[in-house]
């Protein structure tokens, strides 16, 4: 039984600088409750919205990246419903059927599904640019049972993209891949940092052949997209296999218990009294398209194509593209190396792996060395100067510790310092030396080991030690 999945992804434009219609911060994280508020985002009477230019440009860039039809004018619409975190009791959004015009209609996203390394395609129904509501906390339990609600309006008015797909997604795993790829695309635009807490939320609807469509709300991470849909898929399949009926309903994802639960109170027939917002004349898109286009110039897809075009395997290219600083480094350094595949491996596998091991984020550019360092390292590796173990075990961890360090300081020690230690070891282990001289070649391995041990944590290339020992002991 193959499921049919459609997604509604809400992504905050954390990179928009200010809220959508006022000067309060778009990134409110770490601020005490209700300290990022002004008359506009509290909806005080007489306070008027003025659209944030950067948010509009980013929304248009998203529409371009998703190959949408973009209207000549964006028309904002009021959508009414009473809710404690919605200070005006209407949300400013877009709605085409009430004289509004969404930022995007009929787009498409081709996304990479790492399970099998295939490209998939999902149609985008529309994208709305709208206000995020405030944040509600239900101290006495859950949304369905709490006696009271505590509201923080810091989030109220943060620019939000609502991206709605057609039901084109074939599996829970693919749904996760879609969301990851979508977020990456928006990150490349500079619109969102998806790693910020609460930067995106997903509602998913899923149906199986013979069953009704079920909507799952409140999914907060890409991993949970897969988990929630997997859970829902199994739940529905079980019902159908037992001859039961899957009713059309809305369910709530409980990330803690890892299960979906029916939203107990029946959703009222949606009636939102849509009306074009009389405070907001249309925003003409044409004058902004050039600016938006510049933001879409480096898309993940374009980079993937370029990198794999250098002969880099898709998995490695994907790993690089997922960390934007790695992708920039690759593009900057690729012209300075003979074999870009070596560079790609250093960046996408070795260095990124070392960052993970060291508990450092691959998305922070300051955790990566300059392009020149990486290019020189790649050339040394190409020339066989250092074996892979030395690169992985010594050089890269050194750079991870201090990305700005010059390459020399992290390269393994060469002969000079070594010679003294080699002589020391020859004096200290006369029996091993004798064994070696009498033809027991494995005694040399023992001596190499002793040299390395005496060097302690200092970087060294074992081949170099072996060469020095052989030289001292006269060939063997």
């Amino acid at each position: 039984m193959r499921p049919v999945i459609g997604l509604e992804v809400h992504v905050q434009l954390t990179g928009a600088g200010s809220k959508l219609f006022c000067g309060c911060k778009a990134d409110y994280r770490g601020m005490p409750p209700n300290t990022n508020v002004c008359p506009v985002c509290l909806g005080l009477p007489g306070a008027l919205p003025v659209p944030n230019r950067r948010a509009v440009v980013q929304a248009l860039a998203a529409a371009m990246a998703l190959k949408c039809r973009i209207p000549g004018a964006i028309v904002f619409t009021r959508k009414h419903y009473f809710y404690p975190d919605l200070p005006k009791n209407y949300q400013i959004t877009q709605f085409e059927r009430a004289g509004g015009a969404p930022v995007c209609t009929s787009g498409v996203l081709e996304y990479l599904d790492p399970a099998g390394w295939v490209w998939r395609r999902a149609r985008i129904r529309r994208i709305n640019l709208e206000e995020d509501p405030g944040r509600s906390v239900y101290p006495g339990g859950s949304i369905v049972s709490s006696e009271e609600v505590l509201v923080d309006y810091n989030r109220s008015g943060v620019p939000l993209l609502e991206i709605v797909t057609e039901p084109d997604i074939p599996s829970p795993r693919a749904a996760r891949a879609f969301v990851e790829y979508l977020l990456l695309t928006l990150e490349y635009i500079g619109a969102v940092n998806p790693r910020l807490e609460g930067a995106f939320r997903v509602d998913a609807n899923i149906s199986l052949p013979g069953g009704e469509r079920v909507e799952v709300k409140n999914i907060g991470s890409t991993l949970e997209v897969e988990r929630a849909l997997e859970y829902e898929y199994k739940r529905q399949r079980l019902i159908l296999e037992r001859g039961g009926r899957v009713e059309r309903e809305t369910r709530h994802w409980d990330a803690h218990r890892r299960m979906t639960k029916p939203l107990r109170h029946k959703e009222e027939e949606a009636e939102y009294l849509y009306m074009p917002d009389p405070d907001l004349p249309p925003v003409l898109t044409r004058p902004l398209l050039g600016e938006a286009e510049a933001l879409v110039a480096t898309s993940p897809r374009r980079l993937l194509d370029e990198i794999t075009g250098d002969g880099v395997p898709l998995e490695v290219a994907w790993s690089i593209v997922q960390a934007r600083p790695a992708a920039s480094l690759y593009m900057e350094a690729r012209g300075r190396v003979r074999d870009p595949r070596v560079l790609a491996r250093l960046l996408g596998v070795d260095y990124k792996g070392a960052l993970r091991e060291a508990g450092r984020g691959p998305h922070d550019p300051s955790n990566w060395p300059p392009a020149e360092t990486m290019a020189r390292l790649a050339r040394l590796v190409e020339e066989g100067e250092y074996p892979p173990e030395a690169v992985r075990g010594l050089i890269i961890p050194g750079l991870v510790r201090d990305p700005q360090a010059s390459l020399e300081t992290v390269l393994p020690e060469k002969a000079e310092g070594l010679e003294a230690v080699v002589d020391e070891v020859i004096r200290a282990y006369p029996r091993a030396v004798q064994d070696y001289m009498s033809g027991k070649r494995r005694a040399l391995d023992y001596l190499v080991g002793q040299v390395i041990r005496r060097l302690g944590r200092r970087a060294v290339d074992p081949r170099e030690v072996r060469r020095l020992l052989e030289e001292r002991l006269g060939g063997g």
Binding site: G23, N34, L42, G99, L273, P282, V283
Partner: protein, 95 residues
């Protein structure tokens, strides 16, 4: 508009506007509704016209995100009940 239509309307108002209009008002509401129906008399006069008020040659100004407009508001000044900075409101009540 018949009286039962009006009571249906009143329950709609209760849900959509969170407002109780007394049934005594039905007569007036029915009259006003009849008055507003006057827009139908426009007939062919308005055929093909764009209903958007935006056609008023308007175009929205856009704001630089760094621009400061209104000062920040101290939520306590609105006289709302707060707890640890959050605005405290009733939700589902005691079940």
């Amino acid at each position: 508009m018949a009286v039962e239509d009006c009571s249906k309307l009143l329950s709609k108002i209760r849900v959509l506007a969170r407002l109780e209009v007394p049934p005594e008002d039905c007569e007036r509401i029915t009259e006003i509704r009849g008055f507003l129906e006057g827009v139908r008399r426009a007939g062919p006069l308005v055929e093909g016209l764009d209903p958007l008020y935006h056609v008023w040659e308007a175009e929205s100004r856009l704001r630089d995100p760094r621009e400061k407009g209104y000062g920040h508001v101290n939520i306590e000044d609105l006289g709302v009940e707060t707890r640890e900075g959050y605005v405290r409101l009733p939700w589902r009540g005691r079940l």
